[in-house]
């Protein structure tokens, strides 16, 4: 029986989010909160491995109370159990403080059921860093395998996993001891449609929620804003480009002008 934990995050959909041009802050109301797309693939992979090898999939998130919705989404995808850590003390955490808090929660989960494998999305679409997953692995002192786009084998009995890690121009096949942590690429799987029983279960599901006080051996100085070495000093709107020349005339004229612009770079075609 494998125990796999997927770490997930609820994020604003940055593709459609609007910015307040005066304050350069996000207008959160303009974008729906969604399960981070990479994390959906992490949960999907965990569920597939559970189906293949047998086991239990837990999901863990840190966030404000509405993030329960993201856990419910994971239950729809086939996760068995959900855990959430939620406390003002976690607010303002950068990647270092986030990996610290999540690690403390993982240690608590592992006490009750030892963890064989942790799967995270490659990155979140709001933070865009990809640093939390490897941070958790370091804190737990287990090997991080980043950019995984295929799981070849997980062998709990013999204590190893074999995966493909994406490289810029291909992939490498890596064997790692268990437990270990994967961060996964989107192309690792296609998200399955949630079966009806999962949807019903998800609708009623209430995750286990812990505050900072519920976690053990926590150094409060390492939590939230206080535990974050990086600070955002300034935000500004990216410089607006000046805009280009619009070609006019008939279609043929436009294409001819474009053609001469392209062919000016004749070294590319000779």
């Amino acid at each position: 029986m494998l125990h796999i934990v997927a770490c997930i995050k609820q994020v604003p959909d940055t593709k459609i989010i609007k910015m307040n041009p005066k304050t350069n802050t996000m207008d959160r109301a303009s974008a729906p909160a969604i399960l981070n797309p990479y994390d959906a693939h992490a949960v999907e992979e965990a569920v597939r491995l559970k189906k293949k090898y047998g086991g239990i999939v837990s999901v863990l998130t840190m966030g404000p109370p509405p993030a329960v919705k993201a856990i419910k989404k994971c239950i729809e995808l086939g996760a068995d159990e959900g855990y959430m850590i939620s406390d003002r003390a976690f607010a303002g955490a950068d990647t270092l403080a986030t990996s610290y808090a999540l690690t403390k929660a993982l240690e608590k989960i592992a006490k009750h059921r030892p963890i064989d494998l942790i799967i995270c999305g490659k990155m979140t679409i709001d933070g865009d860093t990809g640093q939390v997953g490897p941070g958790i692995a370091r804190r737990l002192n287990i090997p991080p395998l980043t950019g995984v786009n295929k799981v070849v084998e997980v062998n709990k009995e013999k204590g190893y996993a074999i995966v493909h890690r994406k490289l810029e121009d291909g992939y490498e096949v890596v064997k790692s001891q268990l437990p270990c942590l994967f961060t996964v690429e989107k192309d690792i799987n296609d998200i399955s449609f949630a079966p009806l029983p999962n949807m019903i279960k998800a609708a009623r599901y209430q995750p286990t929620i812990w505050t900072a006080d519920d976690l053990e051996d926590v150094d409060r100085k390492q939590l939230g804003l206080k535990g974050s070495p990086t600070i955002v000093s300034k935000v500004w709107a990216p410089p607006k480009p000046e805009g280009g020349k619009i070609l006019t005339g008939t279609k043929e004229e436009q294409v001819n002008e474009l053609l001469s612009i392209i062919l000016e770079k004749k070294e590319l075609f000779s």
Binding site: P12, T14, K15, M19, N24, M26, T95, L96, I125, D126, G127, D128, Q131, P134, G135, A137, R138, I142, P144, L145, T146, G147, R165, L167, E168, D169, G170, Y171, E172, K175, S176, C180, E185, K186, S228, T230, I231, V232, S233, K234, V235, P238, G244, K245, I246, L247, K251, E252, Q254, V255, N256, L258, I261, I262, L263, K265, K266, L268, F269, S270
Partner: protein, 349 residues
């Protein structure tokens, strides 16, 4: 923590197939500026197997010092041995800044080091500066999917660390007369203690034009309507001998593999010519292509933001414009080729 103990700007030098990764040379260029401002040394940290011979190249590109960890255990990048070597180097020589390429292995290593030291780490930086007197690193990056730029500081910890996007910084022209100091380091590591093993490396894109190396990139967006409509992008790329790019929605719709995605969560490209066809031009896309030499946009919507980010634009239907362009290119390109061949013959005559 006494900040005065921490001196020098370091670049993690990445090795790929026995060569120095281009991003590492770009970072030496950026690091040189920071080191000069701080009147301190620029160092490369070189971890690998058989890499020592390449150290002089780093001097030519701006390094004053190269710390070398040369051992067969470093043959392939793996977090554990690389992290142990770099941590060893940090503890011995105490840098004030470490920069890494924002590549798969650079990000992997930087995240591990930041957690262990611990210190702050800024991801995917695109603008770097340093305060001359305090040594505070100003690392700026697109945030929230590129909707804003943010400057990130790490005031209370040293070293300050950032990963930097490839192709954003400029390498210095190599100066063969520049030399420096090689410091050979060693750390006791045993293969049997390593918890991961690289079994095989598979290169996949040998046949295809790599999008981040192509001189011409033809990118299509949702405006192409369907996977079938997107074929027009492939056709234009083929005629031009270029690579195919795509916006995020096209990748998410499954019209093309995400290796082709240009933008914040995809690849950054800087080709000689970039075509954005049926792409609205959301900032997330633009940050991935804005440094291209020539950007050409074709879009039906005259108000599409892409026209703000291009050099030349055509407001029109791609399905009318592009086939016409393909037809004309098919006529003209062979003429250019023929003319070039004639020149070549004259030269040899």
């Amino acid at each position: 923590m006494n900040f005065d103990d921490y001196r020098g700007i370091w670049i993690y030098i990445e090795v790929k197939d026995g060569q120095i990764a281009p991003v590492s040379l770009e970072l030496l260029g950026a690091g040189r500026v920071l080191a000069d401002k701080r009147k301190t040394e620029l160092a490369g940290v070189f971890i690998g197997s058989g890499v020592k011979a390449l150290a002089p190249t780093l001097f030519q590109y701006g390094a004053d010092v190269v710390y070398v960890y040369d051992d067969p255990i470093f043959e392939h990048y793996r977090t554990e041995p690389y992290m142990r070597a770099l941590l060893d180097c940090c503890h011995k020589h105490k840098p004030e800044v470490i920069l890494y390429g924002a590549t798969p292995s650079g990000k992997d290593l930087a995240s591990a080091i930041a957690t262990d030291l611990p210190t702050g780490l800024t991801a995917d930086t695109t603008i770097l500066d340093i305060e001359e007197d305090t040594g505070l690193l100003l690392a700026s990056r697109p945030a929230f999917g590129g909707n804003i730029m943010a400057t990130i500081l790490c005031k209370k910890y040293r070293p300050q660390m950032a990963t930097v996007r490839p192709k954003v910084m400029k390498a210095l022209p190599p100066d063969p007369s520049r030399t420096g100091r090689v410091v050979e380091e060693h750390i006791e590591l045993h293969e049997e203690e390593m918890r991961t093993k690289v079994l095989q490396i598979v290169r996949e894109t040998a046949k295809k034009v790599r999008i981040d190396e192509a001189d011409i990139v033809v990118a299509g967006g949702k405006g192409m309507g369907s996977k079938e409509g997107f074929q027009l992008i492939h056709q234009l790329a083929e005629v031009l001998g270029g690579a195919v790019g795509a916006s995020r929605d096209v990748v998410e719709a499954g019209w093309i593999d995400h290796h082709h995605q240009v933008g914040q969560t995809g690849v950054t490209v800087t080709p000689k010519i970039y075509f954005a066809i049926g792409i609205s031009g959301a900032i997330q896309h633009v940050v991935g292509m804005q440094n291209s030499d020539l950007i050409i946009a074709i879009n039906k919507d005259p108000n599409a933001p892409i026209f703000q980010s291009c050099h030349y634009g055509i407001v029109g239907d791609a399905f009318e414009i592009v086939p016409l362009l393909i037809e004309r290119l098919k006529e003209e390109i062979p003429k250019i080729k023929a003319a070039a061949d004639v020149k070549e013959e004259i030269r040899h005559a």
